[in-house]
């Protein structure tokens, strides 16, 4: 077992022992903290399983290979569209996006399209949006998406122009 894992177990176990002890001895601070915890767990349990089932089904049904194929061929304004579609179906966050974006850039994709890909893999990922909508409401997610997509595209075009011919890609 790794050191982190042991620390985790000790912390979590320590917390619950503290709560149990508080309930037995009627220790007010512990009881209040425990009440907080139970409240959170209750509201999480009503949302968490459903959100994960939706994400699971999404991953099973979406064929990423088709999307990647389209992205490879797309040019012009369609490039932005496919950059967003591709990133929306990405599973990982920025850690996955940077290497992929870099690889696409080396293959000759336009900088503005690459930046759109990075920006929208942060903001429009569907699994993440399902999660967001489940917890913060559909209204929140729809407003956020509708505002972020144009902003990401415009800013990418802007930065793309700014750095035109000025950028060397690290090998």
């Amino acid at each position: 077992m790794s050191k982190d894992k042991i620390i985790n177990i000790v912390l979590i176990a320590g917390y619950f022992i503290f709560l149990l002890f508080s309930y037995i001895t009627d220790f007010r601070i512990g009881i209040e903290i425990g009440g907080n915890f139970i409240d959170f767990v209750k509201s999480m349990l009503t949302i968490l399983p459903i959100a994960f089932i939706l994400i699971g089904l999404f991953e099973v049904w979406i064929d990423r290979k088709t999307v990647e194929k389209y992205f490879g061929h797309a040019s012009g304004y369609r490039g932005y569209f496919w950059a967003i579609v591709l990133s929306s179906t990405t599973v990982g966050g920025a850690y996955v996006a940077f290497p992929v974006a870099h690889a696409l850039f080396k293959k000759g994709a336009k900088l503005s399209i690459i930046l759109t890909y990075i920006g929208s893999s942060a903001l429009t990922r569907i699994p993440m949006t399902i999660f967001e909508a489940s917890f913060l409401g559909l209204k929140f997610s729809i407003i956020r998406l509708l505002v972020s997509i144009p902003l990401v595209i415009f800013s990418s075009i802007f930065i793309g122009r700014l750095f035109k011919n000025k950028i060397r890609v690290n090998p």
């Binding site: 912390l11 949302i47 699971g56 999404f58 903001l123 967001e132």
Partner: protein, 161 residues
């Protein structure tokens, strides 16, 4: 919440009718993902239950609530920019904060900067795209996040122009 359940049930039935096998596979993926985040999730709930005890609700709503949008949004965006938190933890946390009186505007600035602006991931990004481009992208992204928060604030009636 009711809509979420109706939507999910509809999707599950649709998926089941189309392919029983794929639906089971989807459930398996869901279970795997849930299991994977459960430890960090538990830790988050523990931390929040303690922190929210230490910080009274009146203080939270004073600095992060609807009456003080500027500080809330600024603090939210700073936290979001400097921390790395998976969305699977950040959104549940945000819903707890909203229940405690934090404004949607502040939450939006927190969640969007969390995803789009990365001070801790900057060294990684720099390795790929050089520091000038990475710095520009992060600064512009920060601006985008603030614009998103402002518009969220307007739609939720927290920000009145």
């Amino acid at each position: 919440m009711t809509y979420l359940y109706i939507f999910a049930i509809f999707i599950i039935i649709l998926s089941f009718v189309k392919s029983r096998e794929k639906t089971y596979k989807g459930f398996k993926v869901a279970w795997k993902k849930l299991k994977k985040i459960l430890p960090s999730f538990t830790k988050m709930l523990i931390a929040v239950s303690v922190i929210l005890y230490l910080i009274p609700e009146s203080v939270i709503s004073k600095y992060l609530g609807g009456s003080n949008l500027f500080t809330g949004t600024l603090l939210g965006s700073i936290f979001g920019s400097i921390t790395i938190l998976p969305g699977f933890v950040a959104f549940p946390l945000s819903s707890v904060l909203i229940d405690k009186g934090v404004s949607y505007t502040a939450v939006a600035s927190f969640t969007t900067t969390l995803m789009l602006v990365g001070i801790i991931t900057f060294p990684v990004e720099k390795e790929y795209f050089g520091w000038k481009l990475s710095l520009t992208r992060n600064l512009v992204s920060y601006l985008i996040c603030i614009i998103i928060s402002i518009i969220i604030g307007i739609f939720y009636g927290e920000l009145i122009i």
